[in-house]
Amino acid sequence: MSSPIIQIENLSIHFSGNPILKNLNIDIEEGAYVSIIGPNGAGKTTLIKCLAGIYRDWNGSIHIVGQNSKKLSSKETARLQSYVPQAEGRSNPLTVEELVATGRYPHLSAFTSMKKEDFDAVDAALNQTGIATFRKRRLNSLSGGERQMAFIAAALAQDTQILLLDEPSTFLDYKHQAEVSGILRKACREQGKTIIAVHHDINMAAACSSKVIALKEGEVIFTGTPAEATETQTLNQIYDTSFISSPSPAHPLPLIITGGSNT
């Protein structure tokens, strides 16, 4: 078996004395779609930011494509993986096209301008996400869903093996949720990208992913397949609330609804 594309060993981080992640050990295989779930404050966003190189004061080791991530420069890291942040508060006056073009940053040197291959990558990302029609519009004139598509397009234009996404579908309407999950699954299946996404919606997580990891209080408390993750007992343990599982008419996996009080 090939070695994992991301290998996290004993990852710990604390903010002003409070441990946020405690000795995480996670292996992620190439081409996998891994969903990270867990209650608020479990450390999901922190984990993604450690991987993306935004937090650097962690202990332990992270290997990306076999290389020690602390020894990679920020540009080298950015050529291996791209990051899509949480959607809120991301308004700014750049146009969609300008935002997507920032995805080419790690491929350019300080003295060169965008070449044909860079413009092609931007066009491809805009088409792949279906937002080419409003490429000239400013981000602050878009809806939250459209803006999220633009950020995903920028990450795709970065042309990396690994995509890190922090709640890519939270706050989006159903249409955009479906579009986002469609784009991500396609990128995983057809382009062989490895996707690591924090998901709030357990049904979304289960439907998209090949592997689910649950964090709670900074520790991995569950790793398994979507089928295992959607067992109500497991979910009960992760979220401390009860769930009802109902067979889905369309999918092999059941639909999960919260079941109110924990009885």
């Binding site: 002003s16 930011k49 993306a52 190189g53 935004i54 420069s73 920020s74 540009k75 080298e76 890291t77 950015a78 050529r79 791209s82 990051y83 942040p85 991301r90 308004s91 700014n92 006056p93 750049l94 146009t95 300008e98 935002l99 920032t102 995805g103 940053y105 790690p106 350019l108 300080a110 400013r138 602050n140 004139s141 970065q158 890190l164």
Partner: protein, 327 residues
């Protein structure tokens, strides 16, 4: 209209302003003037107009850099305490009467640059110290430091004799009335060095505007780039403040207006802001000269005029906070 064409139009306006502004003043002097009038045109008005253009451009560029770096429309050399830091450095040197030059650059300019650099580092350091980074803390500590430094300047003035005290007050209001070729020679190195640094960073400024975490994840060496931006902005603010005093509002206003007209991509925004800031201060300065001709009174410090125009603009900006001016 495409942005490069808009830029070309702005460039034309800038050249026209530079060509016409020297002709205007207390009295109109035509191009083909001779004798004493020619002397006034070439050795008094021309360097002054060039100084005004350079100073306006530098203040506007530093405001643009701060706004992108801190993702805040209110981040300017003034609100971050950089202007008053520079002013304090310069005032100290005027008071101490230290006068030496390095390659024609006066000690006051260097002191102002150091003052500017120290205050931005202080403000930024204070904000970081509080754990994490928040823009309200940044602006509040900037304003607090600005007031503190201004008080120190008043204190220096209090300790000074009448002549020096008047010199400091007049200069603190922001004026170009003493501008000449040697002043221009003192501005240019700061404009060129600061401008060159910033012009290399347009992609990084775009990414900072999206967010520092995004800049990191796209591979920007954020620590280094931040230091370079601080350096460039301090060079420009210090350079201007030493010569012209703290002239307000251009640093806030010019980048905003340009962002509305030319878009937010710094590859275009930067030259636009440079030209717009230059044009704006040149026009304001020309107005003060024309006004003093009409009233035959003393010259109005140009800082008064930019603030008079900038004040209402500031209000409009606040009222439109939810609109497209958001960073």
């Amino acid at each position: 209209m495409r942005v490069p064409i808009k830029l070309l139009i702005l460039l034309t306006i800038a050249l026209a302003t530079l060509a016409l502004a020297p002709l205007l003043g207390m009295e109109f002097i035509p191009f083909n003037a001779t004798g004493q009038e020619k002397e006034i045109l070439t050795s008094i008005r021309l360097p002054r107009v060039c100084c005004a253009f350079a100073a306006g451009a530098m203040l506007a560029l530093s405001g643009m850099a701060f706004q992108a770096l801190f993702r805040n429309p209110l981040a300017t050399p003034f609100t971050l305490g950089v202007s008053s830091g520079a002013a304090l450095g310069a005032a100290l040197f005027i008071r101490l009467g230290i006068a030496f030059t390095i390659l024609g650059i006066s000690a006051t300019s260097i002191a102002a640059f150091i003052g500017a650099l120290l205050s931005i580092l202080l403000v930024y350091g204070l904000t970081r110290l509080k754990g994490g980074f928040s823009t309200p803390t940044l602006l509040l500590s900037g304003i607090a430091i600005s007031f503190f430094f201004s008080s120190l300047i008043l204190f220096i003035q209090y300790l000074s004799g009448l002549t020096q005290s008047f010199q400091i007050v007049h200069w603190m209001m922001g004026t170009l009335s003493t501008a000449d070729f040697s002043k221009l020679w003192n501005l240019l190195p700061f404009l060129i060095s600061g401008g060159l640094i910033l012009s290399m960073l347009s992609r990084e400024l775009n990414l900072f505007m999206i967010g520092e975490d995004m800049a990191i994840s796209r591979g920007v060496n954020t620590g280094l780039v931040k230091k370079l931006i601080f350096l460039a902005a301090s060079l420009m603010v210090g350079g201007v403040v030493a010569i012209c005093g703290p002239i307000g509002f251009i640093g806030m206003m010019a980048p905003h207006i340009c962002r509305l007209i030319f878009g937010a991509d710094h590859r275009f925004l930067m030259p636009a802001t440079f030209l717009f800031g230059g044009i704006f201060l040149t026009i304001c300065d020309t107005l003060t000269r024309v006004l003093s001709g009409l009233t035959s009174g003393a010259e109005l410090p140009v800082g008064v005029l930019t603030a008079l125009l900038g004040g209402p603009f500031f209000i409009i900006l606040l009222l439109n906070r939810k609109g497209s001016l958001d960073l």
